[in-house]
């Protein structure tokens, strides 16, 4: 009698414990739509790798708030219609808690409304201003704003007394947004855009257009705005044509592979970027150093390739999202509100200070001017 009573108590306690632990051990599904293959694979592939690495690391530590993370990654190939299809699938079928990505601005704009209507948090890794302006309650982005990057370039040009420039932009959304910002900010910075040309993102030779621009002796500097390998072609063609003007690039140059592709022609290129690329050269007291060095080491050990700022955007998206979940639990509205109130978050792109009106959170100081010396990224010093 006594034994069966004890047994019942034990079984009851066990099942209670089991059900409680099961209630706690819910997995949080996080979706990701990334351009792993296709023309934007330079962005999507490192982003996907970063997410997998981070999710694995987090789950090994027990997840966030006791909940493990389940990543559902979809390859959109850079195609907007696939992005739309996957967004709907992730929201309705997989019922994901949030979506990280897409990699390109074009895809993000197509699913912005879907995520907003579906009340699913979207942490975009794309750069366009329109993603967060006008602000949609559930939509955030982690890369720096084009306007700030352009501003940094112009500050540098003013210091170097450059007043007449040419702009070469690739025909992607990123290129066009940058070109738009450059043309918009140039007058107030006292800089005149003498020539502006758009090249195909798949271009293999730009020597003709370089020749045309080089013939115009008035041009003192060139801004080359693109995220594709074609930006390296501009560098090679320019130097081979004997054109010696300073060349500025966008923050889309943030992958050492572009430097390798351009070889000696990349020497002296000036561009603004987050501090991820010079992590080990930062002063120890720099608040970002620890985070950057750890990410660089982990990524390079695991994947045997160098970090890029693109992977960094995915890193920031994942970490900020998890911070939100840590603060507010697995409730969408609460997490969204929590993210909006995050201040001083140290990410790879900079230090994030969100607010209800600012769903990007990065300021002018998130970028610093870098240059290429001896095939490596170093900080630009006059």
């Amino acid at each position: 009698m006594k034994r069966s009573f004890t047994a019942t108590i034990i079984m009851f306690a066990a099942s209670l414990a089991l059900s409680v632990s099961m209630a706690c051990a819910e997995t949080i599904k996080i979706g990701a739509i990334l351009a792993i293959s296709g023309p934007a694979s330079f962005l999507g592939a490192p982003e996907a790798r970063t997410l997998e690495m981070l999710a694995e690391e987090l789950n090994a530590k027990g997840g966030v708030g006791g909940n493990k993370i389940e990543l559902v990654i979809k390859d959109s190939g850079g195609n907007p219609e696939k992005a739309i299809s996957f967004a709907k699938q992730l929201i309705e079928e997989d019922k994901v808690f949030a979506i990280i990505g897409p990699s390109t601005s074009g895809e993000t704009m197509k699913i912005k409304k879907i995520c907003e209507d579906g009340k699913t948090i979207l942490m975009s890794c794309a750069a366009a201003e329109q993603i967060v302006n006008p602000v949609a309650k559930y939509v955030f982005k982690t890369p720096q704003k084009d306007s700030q990057v352009v501003h940094a370039i112009f500050e540098n040009m003013k210091a170097n007394k450059i007043t007449k420039i040419a702009v070469l932009a690739s025909n992607t959304g990123f290129g066009q947004a940058g070109k738009g910002q450059i043309e918009k900010q140039a007058p107030e910075a006292g800089i005149q855009v003498v020539a502006a040309e758009v090249y195909d993102s798949k271009a293999t030779d730009l020597s003709a257009i370089v020749a045309k621009l080089a013939a115009d002796k008035e041009i003192q500097a060139v801004i080359n705005w693109s995220i594709e390998p074609a930006q390296a072609i501009v560098l090679k063609n320019a130097r081979q044509a004997g054109w010696k003007v300073p060349i500025y690039q966008s923050h889309g140059f943030g992958n050492i592979k572009y430097v390798e592709a351009a070889g000696a022609a990349a020497e002296g290129v000036i561009f603004p970027a987050g501090r991820l690329l010079i992590a080990d050269k930062l002063a120890d007291k720099n608040p970002q150093k620890a985070v950057l060095v750890k990410y660089t080491k982990d990524y390079e050990t695991k994947f045997k390739e160098e970090v890029s700022t693109f992977g960094g955007h995915a890193y920031d998206a994942f970490k900020i999202l998890c911070r939100g979940i840590e603060l507010a639990g697995a409730n969408r509205e609460k997490v969204r509100d929590a993210i909006e109130n995050i201040k001083g978050f140290v990410g790879t792109a900079g230090i994030f200070n969100f607010s209800p009106a600012d769903h990007n959170g990065l300021g002018f100081d998130s970028v610093t001017m870098l240059t290429v010396k001896g095939g490596n990224f170093v900080e630009y010093k006059k």
Binding site: K74, D75, P80, I84, S85, Q89, E92, G106, K110, T172
Partner: protein, 351 residues
């Protein structure tokens, strides 16, 4: 009687699938299914052109792009700046324009979806005639390359023009209100009505094309496919038949583009690219060149699998492999036997 069997089966299947999704609470399947219906519209039009009229087209995604981009551009481009222009003012008087507000609350002026749709179709017809006349004089490789060239030009123009959103395409395309209460849009609430609308359109087109094929026109087309010189000698104006078929298939592709753009709320250059055109050709080939129903079934299957990401990063490779395998081993397509012939055989056995 047996001629209408496939159509009845289609309608039954469409209804059955929708009820099934309701019963199993998997209503989200309706979205790729709806998109598939629109892609199938392009495919059956292409099947008519390639299988029955015997003209290859490697650039049909171009017509899809023309329809989609024009309707997207016209319904999103803010005409406020041109308010004083005579043509715009006339359109306004005729009720063709919509007065709305953009996201920042400033008033804006766009074209009505109906007006945009009609414009897009008219432009498609014009372009199809303009391109068709010289292109259809070519044969074999030259014809293939000319159509490929056409597709690439549309793609390049879409990619190069700020008017068409360049690499990012156009987003924020509004819904297309067809009748009070029925609008083509991607809203979750109108999902079921959109599903029936899409498949209803497809069923209607299948009925139309079925009638066409079994009429004098259809026989003329098959004669042209078989032996053009002989057909010409018999007094049939082959050039005119080929041209009209080309234009019809172009219009079908364009309509698909228009509706899918409103459904998705946007369009991108990849929809007009070579890979899409190749995909359409692959599906027509696998379904059996001159088999409308085969093309439809295969198209539905493959598109659904692709849209749901079942092929992962091997998406394009799958279609390439299909092309080769079918062309090497089954040039008449997987469903080389037409459905109605099979049904006829079954019925005949019963007699």
């Amino acid at each position: 009687m047996t001629r209408h069997l496939p159509l009845s089966l289609l309608i039954l299947a469409v209804i059955a699938v929708q009820l099934l999704t309701r019963w199993t609470e998997t209503a989200y399947y309706l979205t790729p299914l709806t998109m598939t219906a629109y892609y199938s519209l392009v495919i059956v039009g292409l099947c008519l052109l390639m299988g029955y009229a015997g003209q290859i087209s490697l650039g049909h995604a171009g017509f899809f792009g023309i329809g989609g981009y024009l309707s997207a551009m016209l319904t999103t481009k803010d005409l406020m700046a041109f308010k004083e222009n005579a043509l715009i003012a006339l359109c306004d008087k005729l009720g063709l324009l919509v007065h709305g507000q953009d996201m920042l609350g400033v008033s804006s002026l766009q074209m009505q979806p109906w007006a945009a749709c009609i414009c897009a179709i008219l432009v498609t017809i014009a372009v199809a005639y303009a391109i068709g006349i010289p292109v259809l004089k070519l044969k074999g490789h030259y014809l293939a390359m000319a159509t490929l060239g056409f597709g690439i030009i549309v793609y390049r123009l879409a990619l190069a023009s700020p008017l068409f959103g360049e690499a990012d395409g156009i987003s924020g395309v509004p819904g297309f209100p067809l009748l009070p209460g029925l609008a083509v849009s991607g809203d979750f609430s109108s999902r079921i009505s959109n599903y029936y609308l899409a498949w209803g359109m497809l069923a209607f087109v299948m009925w139309l094309l079925g009638n066409l094929i079994h009429s004098r026109v259809g026989r003329a087309l098959r004669a042209i496919h078989g032996a053009e010189a002989a057909t010409n000698a018999m007094g049939i104006d082959t050039a005119r038949y080929k041209l009209n078929t080309f234009v019809l298939s172009a219009v079908l592709a364009s309509i698909a583009g228009i509706f899918l753009t409103h459904y998705n709320g946007g369009i991108g250059p990849s929809e007009a690219g070579i890979m899409k055109s190749v995909r359409y050709v692959a599906i027509v080939a696998i379904g059996g060149m001159a088999n409308l129903w085969g093309a439809l079934v295969m198209g539905a299957l493959l598109n659904i699998m692709s849209l749901r990401g079942m092929f992962g990063t091997y998406d394009d490779a799958v279609f390439g492999a299909i092309l080769i395998i079918i062309m090497l081993f089954a040039p008449q397509g997987l469903l080389g036997i037409s459905l109605s012939a099979t049904v006829k055989r079954i019925f005949r056995r019963g007699e």
